[in-house]
Amino acid sequence: MSYKTIELAILRYRPETDQAPWFQDYRIPCEEDWVVLDAINYIKDHLDSTLSYRWSCHMAVCGSCGMMIDGEPRLSCKTFLRDLPEGKIRIEPLANFPIERDLVVVLDDFMEKLQRVKPYIIRKEARALDQGEHLQTPAQLARFMQYTHCINCCCCYAACPQYALIPEFLGPAALALAHRYNLDSRDQGREDREEVVASNIGIWDCAFADACSVVCPKHVDPAGAIQQMKIGSTIGWYLDHLGLGRKKT
């Protein structure tokens, strides 16, 4: 005996036949402990195998299942049905990305921007093997730990009004990742990243709407990361223009 019956309206889009997306209604039984992903899996398994969507871990670590649930970007595996208001649940693909099929969006733009911020340890000179590993205190780790939690779910891009209005904007997750490496004591690549991060489509396109941090399922706080980089880049800008900056290599 199931907990109750729920209704969902899911945005469908089949590029081979549809000119525009349209809502399809589903009515299914559900259990009290289900998340939205369970409901969608039920639909796929029992009602409509044509429904396309991304998911993997079902435990909020892979970042695959981001979608708009009642207008908010959320992980479908982390959104409990019992926490949603009564009535038909509206499910759409992540906002601000082109729809490929049904709930699957084209994430190429994000992938490309992620690479542009050079999200890896950059050293001025490589560490020799006999020097041993980099040592890092717990305090040094704590400094950037929060920004390592990003699972690339792109919920922040779906919430960001600037990304919606300015497609060139690097976006919250890419910038937060740049900040993660800038804060890492092992990294020496801040100047390398500045060309992209401190450009007009980097941190300076952010209007501090804070929507990204509000929706982030891993509490990364990309908005905070960007504001901290604004302060750092501003100090760097003044130092450069006053002739006190670091020599450009």
């Binding site: 601000n96 704590a142 009004p161 209007a207 804070d210 706080d221 905070g224 302060i231």
Partner: protein, 137 residues
């Protein structure tokens, strides 16, 4: 064999002039942005006052008198509300922009925000005291 690409991505348009109306969070953000209009406007009022001060006692008295017009009073209440809104929202985000790390921990945001309020109250009381607001009569 697939002879033509099935990929025809659909781009959803964003309503450029009304997107912020749908969600409360976006409306609040736009209100914060537009608070700057009133801050700029009040700065222009102060500039006008300085102009009057520089011009002489008659001009300055005329300036003070004009502060009493119904329009001025109405705008003042609006500006007071907006500046308080600005103060609250400005202080609220300080822990994000300036996190304070002590050892492995971070100072709780509430302390950073609370510290700003303490300083704000002290500065406000100082301004009001120096202006003579607390002198009897």
């Amino acid at each position: 064999m697939i002879e033509k690409s099935l990929i025809k991505p659909f781009v959803r348009e964003v309503p450029r002039t009304t997107w912020y109306l749908t969600r409360r969070r976006d409306r609040v953000h736009m209100a914060q942005e537009l608070s700057s209009v009133f801050i700029g406007g009040y700065a222009l009022l102060l500039l006008w006052g300085v102009k009057a001060l520089a011009a002489g006692p008659e001009a300055y008295q005329a300036f003070l008198t004009s502060l009493g017009s119904p329009l001025s009073l109405g705008l003042h209440w609006l500006v007071l509300t907006v500046t308080l809104f600005h103060t609250v929202s400005w202080f609220g985000v300080t822990p994000k922009a300036m996190p304070v790390q002590i050892g492995e921990e971070f100072l709780p945001g509430g302390i950073i925000v609370g510290g700003h309020y303490v300083i704000w109250i002290a500065i406000s009381l100082f301004i009001l005291f120096v202006a003579g607001v607390f002198n009897g009569g």
